[in-house]
């Protein structure tokens, strides 16, 4: 939302009367103005949806925590202090210390960076691939559709984590490889979704009208079908974030994602497992963080579906 | 005509939106006896809402208020959901626009009619079946035994609508609300369906509230016409007097139709006068 309001302030067409009046003006004066009015209406709808708003708040907090980790952290995350190992939460260590005496709170903050980095990068890779494959298959049909969808089926035949595991095993452990592995495992559902959407969209009159204007297939796919698919893909991707975070944590937990001493949540959870009986916080805190983040993305995704879905809009 | 079946006075339906409330129906008063009353209006005039409010089937968020809204001696305004369920189907039933969406696609047609009957009458299965077959015959379905066993997707639109009519008439209601019952049908089929509806309604002395956007259709089919505009009844007059309508809105609606008998260069487009919103309304050619 921040860059949106920034660009509004920068718009020269905005009268001095104020942002509110500009957004509520009955007749938009430029394409940009019209777009912003739509965004504003959608924002208002999101605002009245309590659970989506909660999700958004948590996500924003997570982003801020990740962004400001060096400022917010109280300790060096790699510094071991065996004298202070397995300490319960206290003023000194807000969320306690782990088995090597490292501050859990600081590690959690830096861990947010890694987790969000994985989630966002995966999404950026996955969404366009899924979207292009799905819309092309759906619009062109015929053998293109058959070939692309069989490839998708091959990927869908394996459980997400198993597929990711196989790729990581082949590529070697590490964050970059984990991202590639998760991406390979999670684009097919998006392609499926985009294809399903495309199949209904391609039958509509406005696509027929574009064909009658002499528009090429590429023009129709990129200019007319994709914009209609984007909302549901955005929703799906947001919901997917939770799964991606869990898969990343799972890979970390199994020792195939981020490598210790990196403070990835799954890795933290994994190393805290041995001490669950005596020092619950080492495992519980990264676990709660994973839970809360995936929940927030799920709630936000649900809310976005309500406001972005073309059938509601 | 003795006591009216439906007596509504000053009905208002309001929708509460997030930012502002919106009045969809603004002070509508009318009575319906054992006759055919047509409600005509353009989309958004509140005609369907008015019909649905009688059965309290208005969408969520609609607030109904009225001085009174009575069905015979029952006060519909204060009736509980349980009492309404008794009224629906048993005393007042509704025929919707598209039979495709109002019949259960997974149930045989015959069983749906039987169920409609047994919901409101205590009858043995055999007796109910005989009644259902008789009803199918009454709506001029040639081979009722065969149709009885069909599924809704196996019949045409016209037949589907006749089945709906059969289903709605079998509990012998006092009033039928028909919301655009023929607009999904073809011209030639439409006439057939209307003839059947007309015959059954007249024979049984059932009241009919016929909601439509088609002025011609209502004029030829109904006894009385209520013309709605922006949530108000602009004019209430006998259908035979429609060409003598007083309200400028009714007049312009009639003139905006392309005519078959004479060629006109340009059709009259109703100029919507904002003063109509609260201006005078007419009843039987007189100012009301």
């Amino acid at each position: 939302m921040t860059d949106k309001s920034l660009s509004q302030i920068a718009d020269p067409a905005m009268p001095a009367a104020g942002l509110g009046a500009w957004l509520r003006a009955p007749v938009p004066t430029s394409p940009f103005h019209a777009r912003m009015q739509q965004l504003w209406l959608q924002w208002r709808r999101l605002r009245s949806n309590a659970s989506a708003l909660f999700g958004l708040c948590v996500v924003v907090v997570m982003l801020l925590a990740a962004l400001l980790a060096p400022i917010l952290a109280t300790h060096d995350i790699y510094e071991q202090n065996l004298a202070a190992r397995l300490l319960a939460p206290s003023f000194q260590h807000w969320l306690g210390t782990d088995e090597l005496g490292r501050d859990v709170y600081s590690r959690l903050l830096f861990g947010a960076r890694i987790t969000l980095y994985i989630a966002l990068l995966t999404t950026v890779i996955v969404a366009p691939i899924g979207l292009i494959v799905g819309t092309t298959a759906g619009y062109l049909g015929g053998w293109v559709d058959t070939v692309l969808m069989r490839i998708v089926d091959v990927f869908l035949a394996f459980p997400n984590l198993i597929l990711a595991l196989a790729f990581v095993a082949a590529l070697g452990p590490g964050i970059q490889n984990a991202i590639i592995a998760i991406s390979l495992a999670s684009w097919p559902p998006i392609a499926r979704l985009a294809r399903a959407e495309t199949l209904t969209i391609r039958k509509s009159d406005y696509i027929a009208a574009m064909r009658l204007q002499g528009a090429s297939s590429a023009r129709i796919i990129f200019g007319h079908i994709m914009p209609m698919c984007i909302p549901s893909v955005v929703v799906r991707v947001t919901l997917n974030m939770a799964a991606i975070i869990l898969t990343a944590a799972g890979l970390g937990f199994l020792g195939l994602g981020a490598q210790p001493p990196s403070p990835e949540w799954g890795t933290m959870l994994s190393s805290g497992r041995e001490f669950v009986m005596t020092s619950w916080w080492i495992a519980a805190i990264p676990g709660t963080a994973i839970l809360l983040t995936s929940l927030a993305f799920n709630l936000l995704g649900d809310g976005l579906r309500d406001i972005l879905d073309p059938r509601h809009g | 005509m003795d006591k009216p079946l439906i007596d509504v006075k000053d009905l208002r339906i309001r929708f509460h939106g997030a930012q502002r409330s919106h009045d969809a129906v603004r002070g509508v008063s009318f009575t319906i006896g054992r006759e055919k009353v047509g409600i005509v209006g353009e989309s958004g005039s509140g005609k369907s809402l008015t019909g649905r409010s009688l059965l309290k089937l208005t969408p969520k968020g609609a607030e109904i208020s009225a001085t009174h809204m009575r069905f015979k001696d029952i006060d519909l305004l204060s009736a509980s959901e349980r009492e309404m369920r008794k009224i629906r189907g048993n005393h007042i039933s509704m025929i919707l626009q598209d039979p495709k969406y109002s019949l259960n696609p997974l149930m045989r047609i015959g069983n749906q009619i039987v169920e409609a009957y047994r919901l409101h009458h205590k009858a043995r299965p055999g007796e109910a079946k005989a009644k259902a077959l008789a009803m199918l015959e009454a709506v001029q379905i040639r081979d009722p035994d065969r149709v009885f066993k069909l599924f809704p997707h196996e019949v045409s639109g016209g037949m589907g609508q006749r089945i709906m009519i059969a289903m709605m008439l079998i509990p012998e209601p006092d009033l039928i609300i028909a919301d655009e019952p023929t607009s999904a049908l073809d011209v030639t089929v439409r006439r057939q369906v209307l003839t059947i509806l007309d015959e059954l309604v007249t024979r049984r002395g059932t009241g009919l509230m016929f909601i439509s956007h088609d002025l011609n259709l209502v004029a030829s089919f109904c006894d009385r016409v209520l013309v709605m505009y922006a949530g108000r009844i602009m004019e209430d007059l006998p259908a035979s007097e429609l060409h003598n309508a007083r309200h400028p809105y009714t007049q312009s609606l009639l003139e905006s139709l392309p005519r078959l008998d004479v060629a006109v260069e340009n059709l009259t487009v109703p100029v919507r006068d904002p003063s109509w919103l609260d201006g005078p309304v007419y009843r039987n050619g007189e100012l009301a």
Binding site: V27, P28, A34, M210 | S43, R191, S240, V264
Partner: protein
């Protein structure tokens, strides 16, 4: 009939749908000709094949037998870009024929971009003006417009490349009567102003008689007879089915005194 040259001609047009063993003929050996500047109508009930003819002619469905010609040249099954500039279509449902996420300006700019036509901004303003929408509609989304306004935008989109022929697929059947009157008036005016040729499909006799000079009555995939608008008005039909159709319509138009059976 005068030996004028036909602008559009259909010769022995047949269209079938369905898989090989269960193919049904929706259009069966239909022929008609439309002269330049003429408005021709196709009347019939749903499923009689009238819209199917329109879709085949427009190039949306290339799976047909027989020939369709434009100025005496047979049209190839895959239409050229030039064809789409000369022939445009207006759809029945104004709620489905505009892209929900594009503002009016974008809808109108697209055909201009495809055909590489200059003066885009002025043309958009002129065309909006011609269909009776002012400049205030330029940056609106379709969901902010009423049905009639949307249909005007759809007509503007069809007209912006200045075609000669407009295919009209029940352009008013989804609209209220008063809005229908507006759109019909607009179509009549545009035809005179821009010297357009219309092929209009409708189930409403009065609408066809109002817009078209000639019409073909369709029944079960065939044109069973051709009538002039005069003949429609005077109910001069030779075929039984046409007579039945005319009667069903006229009964509704007639006032109460005739309708009582």
């Amino acid at each position: 009939m005068k030996p004028t040259r036909a602008l559009i001609e259909a010769i022995g047009l047949s269209i079938s749908f369905g898989a090989k063993h269960a193919r049904t003929r929706v259009v069966d050996d239909v022929s008609f000709r439309i002269n330049k500047g003429e408005a021709y109508g196709l009347i019939g009930e749903s499923g009689c094949g009238k819209s199917t003819i329109l879709r085949a002619l427009s190039g949306l469905n290339s799976d047909y037998d027989g020939a369709l010609t434009l100025t005496d040249k047979e049209l190839p099954k895959t239409r050229s870009k030039d064809f789409f500039r000369r022939v445009q279509m207006v759809f029945q449902d104004p709620y489905g024929s505009l892209h929900p996420r594009k503002i009016v300006e974008k809808v109108l700019a697209e055909p201009l971009a495809i055909h590489g036509i200059d003066r885009a901004s002025e043309r958009i303003a002129e065309t909006l003006d011609a269909v009776g929408l002012g400049p205030s509609f330029r940056y609106r989304y379709p969901h902010e417009l009423s049905g009639g306004q949307r249909q005007r935008v759809a007509i503007a989109r069809a007209l912006i490349t200045e075609p000669e022929i407009l295919l009209l697929d029940e352009p008013t059947s989804a609209l209220d009567v008063s809005v229908q009157a507006e759109i019909l008036n607009l179509l009549r005016r545009l035809r005179i102003e821009r010297n357009l040729t219309y092929l209009m499909v409708s189930h409403d006799l009065a609408v066809i008689a109002h817009i078209c000079e000639r019409a073909g009555m369709m029944y079960k995939g065939k044109i069973i007879e051709e009538l002039t608008s005069q003949q429609i008005r005077q109910s001069q039909a030779r075929q039984d089915y046409t007579r039945e159709f005319l009667q069903a319509t006229i009964e509704a138009v007639a006032r109460r005194d005739e309708a009582v059976a």
